[in-house]
Structures are given as structure tokens and as C-alpha cells.
Amino acid sequence: MTTESPIEHLVTERPRRAVVQVAPDQLVDSAGALLAADYRLALVAAHDGEGPLRVVYLFVAGPPDQRIELHLAVHREQPQVPSLARLSFSAGRFEREMRDLFGIEPIGHPRARGLVLHQHWPPGWHPMRADAGPRPPMVDNADPYPFVDVEGPGVYEIPVGPVHAGLIEPGHFRFWVVGETIVKMKARLWFVHKGIERLFEGQEVTSALPLAERISGDSAVCHSLAFCLAVEEASRTEVPIRASELRAVLVELERLYNHVADVGAMCNDVGFGLANAHALTLREQLLRLNAEVTGHRLLRGAIIPGGASVRMLPRLDRLHEIGERFREIVGLARSNSIVMDRFTGTAVLSATQAEEIGVLGVVARASGLCHDARVTHPFIEPSEGFRPASRNGGDVLSRFLIRCDEVESSLALLEDFVTRDGPLSASGVRSTGPGAGHGTGMVEGWRGTVVHRIEVDPSGILRRVKIVDPSFMNWPALPEALVNTIVPDFPLANKSFNLSYAGNDL
């Protein structure tokens, strides 16, 4: 699979998979050529094993599904890479993450400062390095976080969090406002670093699966599926079509219960509790359906490397009933002029901003971009007539309606997949030959595209797992959308993005 062909060749050839070894001086040009050819940077992973450090840049495009990896060797003594931050915003964020966790310095990065590890983490200690050892003590009186100073007549600063009044994850938000209008907002995250990627290392594939399911509690299916797809690619396991159908059912069930909850929660944030109460009831019905299908309300335990198994499949009449109840809730919200007024034009993320930041999933599709891994990187052919939902407004209303559209399309997909004949359990056999040793898995989860890239040694021990949750790509878009929004609309805007803290901060 490894080729020495120049990037130009790949760009015209457009292979499904390719791995290119690049020298440091070629990296920027190669990445530039790929980005210019409509590839997007999906993942950057550093590796510390035998020999020099390595950095893998995964570029993807589709349809048809194309994934090109650029591999770069990095000196252990002087770990540095040329920065891609000027080509791609998300590359800059990956590089900052890598700088914290591996100590690899991005040369030429316009803002090469900490991202994942807060100021009080021991300086010079990089937890993902093989020789990191136990964590030295935290620094007691570290420098404060370098918030920018926003000054001017009437500018007022509102710090919120990291502990919030509701049951949400920790994040610190700082607003600079004039009156009620937000001039600038800064989200300080990374309060929940758990070292998940490190926990994967040295585990066997099967024993690591429960960990993959728990990366982000509400995304058990898409993370475990992305992990399994990566494992299957690495070990060249053929997955029977039946298993993929069952997996598609699970992915859509996960999308359903989360979107229903989000639709209700967005109504609740504008004080329309009626819709939320009904949405929560519907969510509970969906969770019980999940429990019937998989034995677990959050759909854990149904996907295994090479296959999937369920206890039953949802019946059509239940899906229809869910659809009807959902349309009723949406009708309640849409016929309420105050709710619609609050949603319309609030926290607009323009298509240009979305494109430049590289957002994914619901947020991207609400701003007119049409990334959907179900089409661009499918693990199963989507049903005929399936189109990713798309809206152009970029406001809260668009993000609300995208979720409504996606509930409908999920129900349609489910109807198709549950009516196909086949057993309730299917599993492929692992090929006996040596696998590629590395693989990537991409799944369109309910938030957006989840990407896993794993490296596994011949005995089946995981050497490196790199996880990219769409939240990592989408968080920087929130402050952009909030400029000129008013403070009391922030919770609504935030809810319309509904990004994960746990998935962002691994």
C-alpha cells in the first residue's frame, strides 16, 4: 500500500486508500495540494513507538470514499514538524494538541500554545510519550490562563463555569459584553482530560471495546463502530452485509434518541417546557426501545469487531408511532411564534466561517455544507433516495430544523433496514494473513463524523488509538457564531450546537 508517488499523482488518481511517506520539507506542499483537491484533514495523530516519533495526517474526501495518509518521521531529540496551521484551522488545533501531549513543536504555528493541558500541569511533561512515567505533581501557582483583554467603553466581563447550575459537563465561558451584546466569547474547555487514548494502548482489541463505547456516553454506537471499522481495516476482516445493516440500525437509533432530546432541550431553553416534556417522554420511549433492541438503553454491547448482534429489531408500527409523536412536538414548537422568533437569526454561523473552521455534522449541514459520512464514507450503502439534510441559514432555527429533518431521514433509513431479511446476529471472520497493522474508521454519528485511527501489532495488541470526535472540530465555531448575539441567547445557541466535552477532551 505504501507508495512513493507524488501527491499530484494521487490527486488525479484518487485511490480509495493510500499511504505516503513525506519528508518534513514536503509536508506543507503535499497537504496544500490535498486540501486544494477538496480533501479535508480528518485526523492528525502522533506516535511514539520504536524508532523515531511519527506523525500521521489523515486526509479524506468523498464520495467515493477516499483516504490518504501522510506519514512523517520526527526526530526524537528535536521533535518538531512544519506547521499546517496556515493552511487549515483544524490542523493548527491538532498541532497544539500534539504539542501538549507529545511535546512535538509545530514550527511556524501562529499560536503555538497549550490547548489540552491547563497551566498547572507539570511543564515539560508530555503524557502520551512512551517514557512519560507517572505524572509529576501539579504546579500550585501556575500562570493564569491568558485570556485576551477586551477593553473599551462599557465592556463588561462575565465569567461562567466551569461548574454550572444544570447537569452539564464542565466548561468555562468568558463573555465580553457591551450591554447585553456579546463582543467576544472565549470557551475554555479541557477540564476532563482522562487519558483515554493512552488507556487504549497495550489492550487487546476486544477488551478495549467497552472503553470505545464510553468515550462519550451519548455516542456509544458511533464511537464503538468507528473503532471496530478501524480494527477491521487493520486486520482485513470482511464484515458481512447483514452485520452492516444491523450496525446502521443502531447508528440511526442513537441519532433518533439524541436528536429528539435536543429538539426538546432547545424548546426548553426558550422557556417552552411543554415541548420539552413531550420530547423527554418520547426520548424515554426510544431508550426503552433501545433496551429491547440491544439490552442496553444507550445501545452498548451490540457492536463487536467483525459483526453486530441485537435481540430484536424495532417493528414498523412503533417507528411510525415515534414519527407521529415527533411531528406533533415539532408542530407545537413551530406553531409558537415566540419560539420561532427566538430561533430565527440567532447565533448565525456563515457557510464561509463553517468551511474555514472545518465544522462537521449537524452544525455544518445547518450552515450549508453537506458533509455526511453516510454518503462520503459509507460503511453500508445508504437507502435509495437518502440525501443528507441541508439548510442554509446557519442560525439556531436551521440547526433545529436540521435535527427535525434528520429524525425523519433516520426513520426512513430504519424502515428500510429493519425490513431487510436476515438473522439478528452476524459476524465476519478475521483473515489469517497479516493485516495492514493500521486502519481508520469513519462513522456519521448524530453530532457529526467520528474518526478513529488505530495501530495494532500482529498479536492483536493496540499500539495507538487516535480518536476525533466532531466536537473537537466544532467547538471553535461556537464563539464565532456568538458574535453580536445577546447574552441571554447564549444557552440556546450552545444547546443548538450541543457539543460534547467528554468527546472533545479525551
Binding site: 466581563e157 447550575a165 417552552f272 411543554l274 409558537n336 419560539v339 427566538r342 445577546i486 447574552v487 441567547d489
Partner: protein
């Protein structure tokens, strides 16, 4: 001068009215919550839950922010004290409350709003960003709501030739056609909007939110805990009961005791309970089907209330 015709009678009337408001206020909040929950398809806490909450809060340790001054501790007392004062002298169960002659409508309403101002000061006193944010929002809304209220009272006072509150209530009892007059109806709508704004109900403020940044009233009292919070909660619910009590007696005075005597007073009390609960149910039902307005739309709503009040006042002057 007093309800019972004597000092003892007056004290008794005042005492009963205060108790009714102090117990009835939390119960009213409980009823409104229950109605909301039921209409949303939930079971909801029992109606007396706010009273249980108060008992819990008052049994807790007192905790105050380190940096706060005496203002922080005094504000809840002022809030409750103003409510108690009004509960004593407002025509709630009887049109002949003690000190009724001094119960000027303007004065009463502004004594009531003194509570809001003291809470806003206390919120600033804590020095937290939320306190400042809440006070700023509450004062903005207050500044828009109060002119509407003033003019609405004026509109009601013109045909009655007095702004004495018991007299205003009694005139509705004696001349029911006055209640159906355009100026009273317009003033009613205006008054209702002001009540929703001043008591922090939807569509102005969401009393059940946990989202700090959207709060208006709740943002002001975020720092309160224990007995102080108990006083704030009690004061708030008393104020809601008082505002609704005044509303129903001005626009549907029937049942209120117009004579002295225990029997009439008891009937008046029962009528008051029934009318206030009905009004509370009405507001709770309205809240279920509405949502919270965008903050910048509130001036439009309150300006609307003001315009209605002005029209009411002009009508009152012209129609005579």
C-alpha cells in the same frame, strides 16, 4: 377606621390577612407549578411543596458571601416587610382594612416595588457578575413596567375621583358598570403585563430555568442560601399573591366583605382565595403555551402595556 370597628378588630383583620398571604402565597406558587406540570403531562410536586421548601430553608445554616455588606442581609427582610405591610392594609378580604384611608394605590404599589429595588441592590452588593447582570436586567424591566403601572392606576382613579385603594375596590362593587368600562379593561391588560414582568413569570422571565445567563430575577438571588433564601422565596410568593389579590379585587370585587363582622370577613377571605387561585391557574395555563421572549423584545411588550394604559387614561378623561 378599622375592619372590626375597634383596634382589636383591626389588628385581627390585619393578622388574618397577613397569615393568609404568607401561607397562601407559597401555596399559590405550588398550585401554579402543579397546573403547569399537569398540563405538560407530568405529575409535579405536591401543592404544599413550597411550604416544605421554606421549612427546609429556614432550618439551614446562614451563609453569606464574604465580601457582602449589610445590604445583602437587609434586602430579604425589606422584601418580606413590605409584603407584610401591604398584606395588612390592602383591601384583600375586606374593603375596610385597618389604615384603609391611608392605603393609596400609588403608595401601595411602590412600597411593593421597594422589594425589587432592595433585591437589586443586594445583587450588586455581592459583586458577582451574575448579580450585576440580574440587577441591570431587572431594573431595565422595572423602568419600563412602572410607567405603565402608574398610568394604569391613574386611568382607574379618574372616574373614581380617588386613588385610595379600598375606595377603588368598593366603587367596583357599588357601580359594576365601571368595571366593564373601557378604561378599566385596558388598565386590566396593562396591569396584568406588569404583574407578569414584576413577578418574573413567562414570557418575561422563566422562573424554572437553571440557565444562569438567561435569568433576570433568579440571577439577582443566586447568592442567597438558607434562611436568607427562605425570606426571599417567601417575599416573592407573597408579592405574587398580593399583586394577584389586588388584580382580582379591582376587576372582580365580588365576594369581598363590604361590611364589618366575622361572617362577611370569612366569606371575603374565601372569595379572595378562590379568585386568586383562579387567576393563578389562568396565568399558569398561559405560561404552558407561551415561551420566553427574547430579552430585546421585552421593551416592545412593556411599551405595549404602557400604550394601553395611556389609552385607558385618555378614555377615562374623554368618556366622562
Amino acid at each position: 377606621m378599622s375592619g372590626g370597628g375597634s383596634l382589636v378588630g383591626g389588628v385581627l383583620v390585619a393578622g388574618i390577612q397577613i397569615t393568609a398571604v404568607a401561607v397562601g402565597g407559597p401555596l399559590l406558587v405550588g398550585i401554579m407549578r402543579k397546573i403547569r406540570c399537569r398540563l405538560e403531562g407530568r405529575i409535579g410536586p405536591p401543592i404544599h411543596q413550597p411550604l416544605l421548601d421554606l421549612r427546609k430553608l429556614f432550618s439551614k445554616q446562614r451563609m453569606r458571601p464574604e465580601q457582602s455588606s449589610w445590604v445583602f442581609g437587609v434586602a430579604p427582610v425589606v422584601l418580606v416587610a413590605t409584603s407584610v405591610l401591604i398584606a395588612a392594609m390592602a383591601p384583600l378580604a375586606t374593603t375596610r382594612p385597618p389604615f384603609g384611608r391611608t392605603a393609596d394605590f400609588f403608595a401601595i404599589v411602590f412600597v411593593l416595588l421597594l422589594g425589587s429595588v432592595s433585591l437589586a441592590l443586594a445583587a450588586l452588593d455581592t459583586g458577582t457578575p451574575f448579580g450585576g447582570m440580574g440587577s441591570s436586567r431587572a431594573m431595565t424591566i422595572g423602568a419600563l413596567a412602572e410607567p405603565a403601572l402608574l398610568v394604569a392606576i391613574l386611568a382607574m382613579s379618574i372616574p373614581a375621583h380617588t386613588s385610595n385603594l379600598p375606595a377603588l375596590v368598593r366603587i367596583g362593587l357599588v357601580h359594576p358598570q365601571l368595571i366593564a368600562s373601557p378604561e378599566r379593561i385596558l388598565a386590566l391588560v396593562s396591569f396584568l403585563v406588569v404583574i407578569l414582568a414584576e413577578s418574573g413569570r413567562l414570557p418575561v422571565d422563566n422562573p424554572s430555568t437553571h440557565l444562569e445567563l438567561t435569568m433576570i430575577h433568579e440571577a439577582m438571588v443566586l447568592e442567597y442560601a438558607g434562611p436568607d433564601l427562605g425570606l426571599v422565596t417567601l417575599g416573592e410568593s407573597m408579592r405574587l399573591a398580593l399583586l394577584l389579590g389586588l388584580l382580582v379585587n379591582l376587576f372582580a370585587p365580588w365576594g369581598i366583605a363590604d361590611r364589618t363582622g366575622a361572617a362577611a370577613f370569612t366569606i371575603g377571605l374565601a372569595a379572595l382565595f378562590a379568585k386568586v387561585v383562579l387567576a393563578g391557574i389562568g396565568i399558569a395555563t398561559f405560561e404552558v403555551f407561551t415561551a420566553k421572549l427574547r430579552l430585546f423584545r421585552l421593551p416592545e411588550l412593556l411599551a405595549g402595556a404602557f400604550v394601553l394604559a395611556v389609552v385607558a387614561a385618555v378614555t377615562a378623561l374623554v368618556v366622562r
